[in-house]
Subunit: 462 residues, 2 copies
C-alpha cells in the first residue's frame, strides 16, 4: 500500500530538486568570464526565437520556451551587470563589457516542455538557474589553506626569472630583515605594498600563478592589515621552536597573524558561503592569449590552472573535502576566444586545453567528477573568409582590431599538444584582439555556446 | 584580611581598563573627519616636542612623552590612511587629504607620566588609543531600525521644495506604480538607481538628511539588490492586511524584503560590531558650510544632526539601548573650520552649534552622557591679519583659495543663535574654502585641537 506513494513522493522530490541549479563561471582575469555569462544569459533569453542553439537538445527540439530574470536569493551579492554588458556590446562602436571585480549573481527562470510529458502534451516546467561569476584568482588561494605561514613562505619562492623581476623592489626591502625585527606599521605597509605591486605588475605582464589572490582585487579591504603580509624568506634556517616564541610585535608573529586571518576570514568564507553551494561549474581559459605570450607565461598558466583545479578534486585525501562538502557534480573547461583562430584549428585548441589540464582531468575522473573540454567563442568577433593565394584557397579571419582597423589575417596553427621548444623558437602564432562585431538583430553570434550549455544544464531540461 | 587585597585588585583592574580607550570620530561628509583625525594623530605624535597643546593638561605639564603607531586589533578594517593624508598636506601646493569612504581605524600607544606617581617619580604608563573614523551618514540609518517598510515609506516623503527637485525623475518613474505590480529586475534596478541618483545630487547640493546612508557609499555592495529599494508612496491608502498578503514577487513584497535585509545585514552589523564598542566620540559639524548654503540646507543639516544624535541618546526608552549596549561615556561636538572666520567669532560659532543641537544636548544630559561643544580648526588654513580701514582696525583672514589665489577677506559675522529670516535676507556670511598652509616644520597648526583632545582623553592621562 505504501510503495506507490513512496515512489510518487520520490518522484516529486526528485523533480523539485531538479528545478533549481546553481551554475558558476570562473577563470583567471581576461579569460572572458563576463562575455561568457552575458552570452549565456542572452542565448537562453532568446532560446525560443532567434538564438541558434542547435547543439542544445531542448532548444533544437523546440521545447525550451525562454528565460526570465527574477530576484536572486542572496540580496547582499552584486547582481551580474547583464544590462551594462549588453549596452557595451550595442554601443557604436561595440565594446567588450567591463570586467567584473568580485562575485556576482543572477537568477533566471527557464520554461521548457519535458521531452516525455507524463500528464498531457502542454505541460510546461520551470528550472530556476542561479548563475554566479567569480574571479578564478580566488581559487588560487585554496592551497594556502593547507599551509601555515612557514611552509607558505618557503613555497612562495618565485621560480621564473622573468617573474622575479617584478618583485625586485620588494626583494631589496626584505633582504636583511630578521624574523625577530620589530617593524613599525608604516614600514610594514610599505613592504607589503611593494609585494602587491609586484603581483599586479606580474599579472599585467601575463602571469597567472599569483598569490594571495585578494591582493589583486582588494575592494573594501583596501588598506586593511589583512592584505598587508608577505612571505618571509629563509625561515627554514631558523629553529621553529624559537620562531614560535618570538613576541607578538615581532615581524614574524605579525605576518603569521595576518596570514592566519587571511585564511580564516577571506579564503574560508568564500568556500563556505558560496563555493560549496555550486552544482555545476565552467572554468574558462585564455589558451590563445597564453600561447601568444611565450613559454614562461604559458608554463605559469599551466601551474596556475593545476592549482585552480584542485578546488574541484574531491578525492578522499583532498583538503577541500575535509574542510567543506562541495557538491559540484559536473565540470566544463573551455578555451575561449576560438573565433580568434580559423575553424579547422578548433579541435586542436580543445586538444591543447586537454593537454594543458591532463593531470587535473585525470584526478577529476578518478574522483568521479564528469568533466568535458570545449573550445568556444562566447561572442563572435570575427568572420571566416576564403582567400585565394597563388591558385590555392586559404581560410582567413576578418575582424576589426580594438583600435578600429579592419583586418584580414591568418593567425597560424595552434599546437594540439603542449608546445615544444621548437614551437616557441618558430613562434608560429600571432594573436590579435578584435572588438565585438556590431550586433545586427537577434541573439549574439557565438561558437559552440550551445554545446557548453547543453553539457552544463541540458540534462535538467529533459 | 581580604579587604586590602580586594582594593589592590580593584585598583589593578581599574588601571588596566584605563589603559585602553576607543575613540571614534564621525560627521557628515565634508565635515572634516580626515583632517581632524590626521591632526589628532600628528599632535599626539609630536606632543613631547613641537606640538602646541597647552590646553591638554598632560602636554602642558610635560607628562605626555609621545605616541607610537602599533598594529590595530581588527585586521579586516582598513587602516586610517595617515601617511597618505600627511603626504597630501606636504605636497606642493598643499592639498587637503582625500576623504575616507567607510570605517577605518588606527592604534596609538601613548606614553605618559602620571600626575601623582604612586611608586617613584620616573614611572611611565601607556595608554592604548584606538581611533576610528566612520561616515556620519551611517548613523542617519539608525532611525530606520525603528521602522517597518510601511512606516519608513510614509516618513520618507521629502519635505523641502528644493530637495524634491532632485527626486523628480524618480518621482515620475514611481507615479502610477501599484504595490501589487510585478516589476522585472531590470526595471526595479533602474528605478532604484534614479532614487540613488537623487540622493547623490541632493548631497552634492549640500543636503544632509539623506537615507539610506549606504546608497551614497556602496563600496563592494555596488549593484547588490540590498541597495536597490526605495519608499513606496501612498501605502497608507491600502489595507495593511491586503498588503501583507501580496505575493513574494510583487513590488511591495520585494521592496519590503530588501528593506528588511538592509536593516538586518547593513545597519545592525555596524552598531553590533563597531559602535557599541566605542568609549568616546566626537561629532564634527560643518556649521559654516551650512550657513553659507542657505536656509533650506541649514534646516536640513539641523534635522540630520538631530537624527544622527539619536545614536548617542541612551535614555531608557531609546531604541539603541534596547538593541545594543553602547558604552560611549563622553561626547564632544565640534564646529570645524573655525579658521575660516575671524577669532572674535569663535565663541559665536560654538554658541550656534549649541543652539543647533539644543534638543539632542538636552536629551543627552538627561541620559547622563557628558557632552561638550567646541569650535576648532583641525589644520589651520588661514592667518589672522589686522587691516586699517579709514582709521579703524579690522581683523581679516589671509589664505590661499583652493584654486591658488592669495586672498585677504572679511567673512562676516556668525550668528550666535539660530539664524532668523532677517539673517538669511541679509545673507551676511561669505564662506571661502582655503587650501592648507604650507607646513613649515613641526606639528600641524591648529585651533583648539588641544582643548578637544583634553576633553576626549585628558582624564585617562592623569
Amino acid at each position: 500500500m505504501f510503495k506507490p506513494l513512496t515512489r510518487e513522493l520520490n518522484d516529486l522530490i526528485e523533480r523539485t530538486r531538479d528545478r533549481q541549479l546553481r551554475l558558476a563561471v570562473t577563470g583567471l582575469s581576461r579569460a572572458g568570464k563576463t562575455a561568457f555569462l552575458t552570452s549565456l544569459i542572452h542565448q537562453l533569453r532568446h532560446a525560443g526565437v532567434e538564438a541558434r542553439l542547435d547543439l542544445l537538445g531542448a532548444a533544437r527540439e523546440g521545447r525550451l520556451l525562454g528565460a526570465r530574470r527574477v530576484e536572486q536569493q542572496d540580496l547582499g551579492v552584486p547582481r551580474f551587470p547583464f544590462d551594462q554588458a549588453m549596452a557595451a556590446l550595442d554601443a557604436h562602436p561595440p565594446r567588450w563589457p567591463e570586467a567584473t571585480r568580485g562575485i556576482s549573481e543572477l537568477r533566471l527562470v527557464l520554461r521548457y516542455r519535458p521531452r516525455k510529458s507524463r500528464l498531457f502534451g502542454s505541460e510546461v516546467r520551470e528550472l530556476t538557474l542561479d548563475l554566479f561569476d567569480y574571479p578564478g584568482e580566488w581559487l588560487l588561494d585554496l592551497p594556502l589553506l593547507a599551509h601555515d605561514f612557514n611552509s607558505w613562505s618557503q613555497q612562495q619562492r618565485t621560480s621564473g626569472q622573468q617573474r622575479d623581476e617584478f618583485f625586485s623592489q620588494w626583494h631589496s626591502a626584505v633582504t636583511g630583515l630578521k624574523p625577530s625585527d620589530e617593524l613599525d606599521e608604516t614600514r610594514l605597509a610599505e613592504i607589503a605594498e611593494l609585494y602587491a605591486t609586484g603581483l599586479r605588475a606580474a599579472r599585467e605582464a601575463g602571469f597567472s600563478d599569483l598569490q594571495p589572490g585578494r591582493f589583486l582585487l582588494p575592494g573594501d579591504l583596501d588598506g586593511a592589515p589583512v592584505l598587508q603580509f608577505f612571505p618571509l624568506l629563509g625561515l627554514d634556517e631558523h629553529d621553529p621552536g624559537g620562531l614560535a616564541k618570538l613576541p607578538a610585535d615581532s615581524l614574524y608573529a605579525t605576518l603569521k597573524r595576518r596570514f592566519r586571518y587571511y585564511q580564516q576570514h577571506i579564503v574560508k568564507p568564500f568556500y563556505r558561503d558560496h563555493f560549496q553551494r555550486f552544482d555545476r561549474q565552467i572554468v574558462l581559459v585564455d589558451v590563445l592569449g597564453a600561447l601568444n605570450a611565450g613559454p614562461e607565461r604559458f608554463d605559469d598558466l599551466s601551474r596556475a590552472l593545476s592549482r585552480l583545479m584542485e578546488s574541484f578534486d574531491y578525492g578522499q585525501r583532498s583538503l577541500l573535502n575535509r574542510l567543506f562538502s562541495p557538491r559540484i557534480d559536473r565540470l566544463a573547461i573551455a578555451a575561449t576566444k576560438a573565433d580568434h583562430v580559423t575553424p579547422e584549428q578548433h579541435s586542436r585548441l580543445t586538444g591543447l586545453l586537454e593537454a594543458l589540464l591532463a593531470e587535473p582531468i585525470k584526478d577529476l575522473r578518478y574522483a568521479d567528477v564528469p568533466v568535458k573540454a570545449f573550445s568556444l567563442a562566447s561572442i563572435r568577433a570575427t568572420q571566416v573568409r576564403e582567400v585565394s593565394d597563388n591558385g590555392s584557397t586559404l581560410t582567413a579571419l576578418r575582424g576589426t582590431t580594438l583600435s578600429g582597423e579592419p583586418t584580414l589575417m591568418f593567425p597560424g596553427d595552434v599546437p594540439s599538444q603542449l608546445p615544444t621548444a621548437d614551437f616557441w623558437a618558430r613562434q608560429g602564432f600571432d594573436f590579435t584582439a578584435f572588438r565585438p562585431l556590431p550586433r545586427t538583430s537577434g541573439a549574439l553570434p557565438h561558437i559552440r555556446m550551445d554545446a557548453a550549455i547543453d553539457w552544463l544544464i541540458g540534462d535538467k531540461l529533459q
